[in-house]
Amino acid sequence: MTQTPSRIGEVVLATEDLRKHYPLTQGIVFKKQVGAVRAVDGVNIQLHRGETLGVVGESGCGKSTLARLLVGLETPTEGKIMLKDRDLSTVSARDMRKVRRNIQMVMQDPYTSLNPRMTVGDIIGEPFDIHPEVVPKKGRTARVRELIDLVGLNADHINRYPHQFSGGQRQRIGIARSLALNPEIIVCDEPVSALDVSIQAQVVNLLEKLQNELGLAYIFIAHDLSVVRHIADRVAVMYLGKIVETGVEDDIYEHTTHPYSQALLSAVPVPDPTLRERRDHIILEGDVPSPANPPSGCRFRTRCWKAQEICATEEPALIDRPGSDHPSACHFAEERHVVGATT
């Protein structure tokens, strides 16, 4: 895959043909596997130091499973995850703990991802219980206060409980926790979608500020395309467990070539009533097919207006297509400008 890093920096995280299949079983005593949900089915990504890779797609496309694979909450069925030049599947359990420090996660729902019975100080300091070597015991409170301050909360609130904070503030606590171990990579799974519009902007700004100050690399998973456009350097569009198009943010938003990306972009409502008539709506028929039984060939063909015979027989590879300079997994890739999240 040819990808041009938009900021100079070495690759810190990469996946090679990453797959996660959840078995479907039948029977109670004599369980037998009757199939598999192919949640993530052959994903290759590269993340460079200090950059943000946006991952977009609809629910069920596998973007959250991808996030869970990257932070080690799930074990891949096949494929490799490379952190710098180490293959995570070959790392011993003891070393794994050290390696994991480098890649942390911010959860989607700030209401359920914080333990209501723990104080903010305990929540943010908990990573130090698991990794005591990071900060000596004496310095922990000071470090926790520093982290609270870093995410823009009042360090004097260290002994408060999560319910005493608003949604935006709770998400800041989640971010502080993910920063505790000085990671290089943070996987953000829908970090702002549970927040109100006026609060979303505050959290997005905070994430950008932290990236500039600490040189973090983000995997930013979201379904809100305009937020992704704002924060991401490169974007990958996922459909049914596969990446269908990837490129720098401008490639995807202004020069999109895959029909699915085009439909996705055109469906985003534009906050400008004067564009109402000028918009080129691509309304997709039906729903996303089941990942337990994906269509043959191109997985998007059942909803695609360009589909031909070849789409059912031959799976399009994610390669550069004529007339465009970023990879797209469509036999009939063709640039089309959509007034979507682009204004």
Binding site: S166, S198, L264
Partner: protein, 348 residues
Amino acid sequence: MTTDTPVKSESTARFLTQLDMSAPPLEVRDLHVEFRTTSGRAHAVNGMNFVLHQGQTRAILGESGSGKSVTAQAIMGILDSPPAEITKGEILYRGVDLLKLSDEDRRRVRANHIAMIFQDALSALNPVFTVGFQLGELFRKHRGMSRQAAKARAVELLDLVRIPAAKDRINDFPHQFSGGMRQRVMIAMALALEPEILIADEPTTALDVTVQAQVMGLLAELQSERNMSLILITHDMGVVADVADEISVMYAGRVVEDAPVRDIYARPAHPYTKALLESIPRVDMKGQDLAVIKGLPPVLTNIPPGCAFHPRCRFAQDNCKVPPEPPHYDVDVDRVAACHYWREVIES
């Protein structure tokens, strides 16, 4: 669709004669709703005013806690009271104040004249009954139809909202439908008795954008077919720009700006509207900080005196910080803004 003769009682007949068909379908005047909580009275709605015109779409825009859903529930008459209490105001349906009706009349209005679509379709549908049974219930209860006839009508409705193979899916349970399909079932249910007014409370918030586009398209189509009036409750400035005719922007239970959709996006007259619009990420802002509204929305048990937005407002002067709250100034013939400094806001 064929029209059925509703089961009419005397009180229904009396109610129907009171209606003034020249009056707008819905008008809300100075509505106040309070909730009794352990930490005092929460003022959820503090003087809500709007007029819904025939065939039009009015968006009610606001963040969580701004009182938009409470307003909708007050109109529908489905507020839990206690703890909720409507302390003041009128809700006029064709000139008749709904708040003065008997419970029985209220129930008739709810089904036949005003219907509502909820945000979370899975929890709004009953999981232990089939979709066909739940749709047919409306016809059985309100039209006195037989089970079989009601079921036939349910199939028609599912067809109407474009559920493929409606006949086969009528005996499915809600969990067997996808999110978008469930929301279609909700729409079918709301439209069953051909209401004049449809209230959609965040109808697409739980859906993906491509499904959102399908559902909003369907709603718009059905609305124009039936000349329905629609109240769309949302926090999404994009959806509003796409479908609304007029907007009420709510903050702390009050309408801070009421204007036609084009005017409000081009030249907002209230600092809160302006700040909301500025906080949307734009292409030309890439790499810069997004504009933020500093601070947090007020706690409803303790709304700041004067203008509720003043602690977060960059236009605020001393007179914004003391009661009374700013009146609704006429910005134009068809728009109002509750800000002493709307002229400065609109020019800036």
